[in-house]
């Protein structure tokens, strides 16, 4: 099965639009960023190769996630256990839970940007150093004379704040 130029353009658009969601799916199931990165690349390659098999009348997200899930299974067989966080059973539970997600990605991303602006300056600076400057938790903890576990708790609280904020915003949007 081949794609005509219009279908190809549509496929490219869908793949582009779903990149962040694919990343979130793979990272959630795998739990470790380095392995998630490998699987993310592999998944994109497979998606390109299977472009002709995609049925444009069906939603792209579940199809792409199914392929990603297959790549995760393959990686689970391939890599050593110490590169994995979760047992097979838990990974399946997480994957199943993630397959259900259907919120518009754009709205979620916009809500996140807005919610970040409401964090305290210290927390924004911490996110900036952790994610943009890519400083490790251990490094950030040492610089601030805190334990890595203490800093992990702070990051956890920030994630939860942002998650609550986004959920609230999306719920308000849904009600409107």
């Amino acid at each position: 099965m081949s794609l005509n130029p219009n279908d190809l353009e549509r496929f490219v658009q869908l793949l582009t639009d779903h990149q962040s969601r694919l990343w979130a799916f793979i990272l959630a199931v795998v739990g470790k960023a380095d392995l998630a990165q490998e699987i993310f690349q592999e998944t994109n390659l497979v998606l390109w190769r299977k472009a002709g098999q995609y049925d444009p009348s069906r939603p792209f997200g579940p199809w792409a996630k199914a392929i990603a899930r297959h790549q995760i299974l393959a990686a689970r067989e391939r890599v050593s256990r110490d590169r994995l966080i979760f047992d097979a059973d838990v990974m399946d539970r997480i994957a199943s839970r993630c397959m259900d997600e259907s919120e518009p990605n754009d709205a979620r991303q916009l809500a996140l940007v807005d919610c970040i602006t409401k964090l305290s300056a210290d927390h924004r600076a911490l996110l900036d150093r952790r994610y943009r400057a890519q400083q490790s938790v251990q490094c950030l903890a040492a610089e601030s004379n805190r334990s890595p576990r203490g800093l992990a708790v702070t990051l956890h609280r920030i994630r939860r704040l942002l998650a609550d904020c986004i959920d609230t915003k999306l719920a308000r949007g849904a009600d409107a």
Binding site: P5, Q19, G31, V90, R97, R108, L127, V137, L161, A163
Partner: protein, 439 residues
């Protein structure tokens, strides 16, 4: 949000940060296999983690790279595919660039100019109405206008100036500034004795070694001067239409100058209420009560947010109604634990006059932060910080001059108390002399 037990929460925090030990990872596996709600919360938080990584373009997020397409499918479409690959790479990079631009904490300094009077030492959520400044930037003589936010300047005289909200201040030189609108806090070192602030209507406030705050009401032009430490002298300039006798203000004294009516009124500064149980009284408002900023597992905190606030409109709260025009003092009780473990705190605060109203609702707390909250304190706009159903509780004394609070949880909780302004007989008309401006 589904609340997890503390141990599960802690395990998840360590795993998400990549600092969990192998036995902790194993324990989290066991718990997640047995508890669906734990999986749900993990997915909810992991989506945030992934989005943060994606938006910041950092950590492990790779720009998508593609090989040459397969001939059977892509043979005639090499150019658009490569262009698309490049587009995707650009999109990923765009997030990074945009974020970098937005979040840069120290922007490049502008070329220095002669006769710099001050340096911007801090800026938080500032929306500038004048030319924007960046942290670390030197500032010359001129007018600084802010629409919102907090900014801190260090003058070359050593005086620290904190601005809050919609404020306009004119820097004449390092010892003379003019406040025409908004709020400013001045902290003057001994070397800056004589530092002078000019206010509307020819008001002159001269520092004699102190910290003081000034606020200029945008609509009425009234000026508040509140001395928090030391001593200032307040008078009017030679050019003022209304002349007032110079008067000294010492620590914890406050006055209001009405340039239109031409009078000065001393306002009483409330004495600290009595606190008991797990309550610690703060003499000054803290810089922040945002999530995870003012934390303690053994005590909550209480402080005076604003004194002698005249309500613009009726204030209706779940615990009382206050009519427009009432002069009130506003206090905040605040609790926040240090970590993820729930703490249970119980304490009381007692006033020598009735509590007129209390705000324990997150939305109403947020709505009243700008008008009743301390202008120098950052408040949380993200957390559910009101009284949550369940274990949290408020009990009133029969005279309604005291309230005891019981809070359970680890996140921030706030209770705002509105009390009739305490005059204590100190509100007096200060002698003034009116005179014609010479033409």
């Amino acid at each position: 949000m589904s609340r997890l037990d503390v141990e599960s929460d802690r395990l998840m925090a360590s795993c998400l940060a990549g600092v969990a030990l192998p036995d902790e990872v194993a324990e989290l596996n066991v718990r997640m296999a047995a508890d669906t709600s734990l999986v749900d919360e993990y997915v909810r938080l992991m989506r945030i983690e992934a989005a943060l990584q994606w938006q910041h373009g950092g950590l492990a997020v790779p720009a998508m790279t593609l090989p040459a397409p397969r001939a059977s499918l892509w043979q005639s479409r090499r150019v658009p595919i490569l262009a698309t690959a490049a587009l995707i790479t650009l999109l990923v990079m765009a997030w990074f660039v945009l974020w970098s631009r937005e979040s840069a904490s120290v922007a490049p300094m502008k070329p220095s100019r002669p006769q710099m009077l001050a340096t911007l030492t801090s800026a938080e959520n500032v929306s500038w109405r004048s030319e924007p400044f960046y942290e670390g930037q030197d500032v010359a003589a001129g007018t600084i206008r802010m629409a919102s936010g907090f900014a801190g300047f260090l003058l070359t005289s050593g005086t620290q100036v904190g601005l809050a909200g919609a404020t306009e201040i004119h820097l004449k030189d390092s010892m003379h500034v003019g406040l025409t609108q908004g709020r400013a806090r001045f902290t003057c070192p001994p070397d800056a004795r004589g530092f002078t602030v000019l206010g509307p209507g020819g008001l002159v406030v001269v520092d004699l070694g102190t910290q003081f705050e000034m606020a200029v009401d945008e609509h009425s032009g009234r000026v508040r001067v509140h001395v928090t430490q030391g001593l200032v002298q307040v008078r009017t300039s030679e050019q003022a239409i209304v002349a007032i006798e110079p008067l000294d203000l010492t620590a914890d004294q406050m006055l209001e100058y009405d340039p239109i009516a031409g009078h000065v009124v001393r306002l009483g500064v409330p004495v600290a209420p009595r606190v008991s149980g797990a309550v610690t009284w703060l003499d000054d408002p803290p810089a922040s009560v945002q999530n995870d900023r003012l934390t303690d597992d053994t005590t909550m905190f209480a402080f005076l947010e604003r004194a002698a606030v005249k309500l613009d409109s009726d204030l209706v709260t779940p615990h009382g109604k206050v009519a427009a025009g009432t002069l009130v003092d506003v206090y905040l009780l605040h609790k926040d634990a240090t970590g993820l473990e729930d703490v249970e705190l119980e304490g009381a605060i007692q006033f020598d006059r009735p509590i007129l109203a209390a705000i324990d609702d997150t939305a109403l707390l947020g709505r009243t932060d700008p008008t009743l909250g301390s202008p120098y304190t950052r408040y949380d706009t993200l957390s559910i910080r009101g009284l949550e159903s369940g274990a949290d509780r408020i009990d009133w004394s029969p005279e309604r001059n005291a309230v005891s609070v019981r809070w359970v949880g680890y996140g921030p909780d706030d209770l705002r108390l509105i009390v009739a302004h305490q005059t204590s007989g100190t509100t007096v008309q200060v002698q003034t002399n009116s005179r014609e401006r010479s033409k």
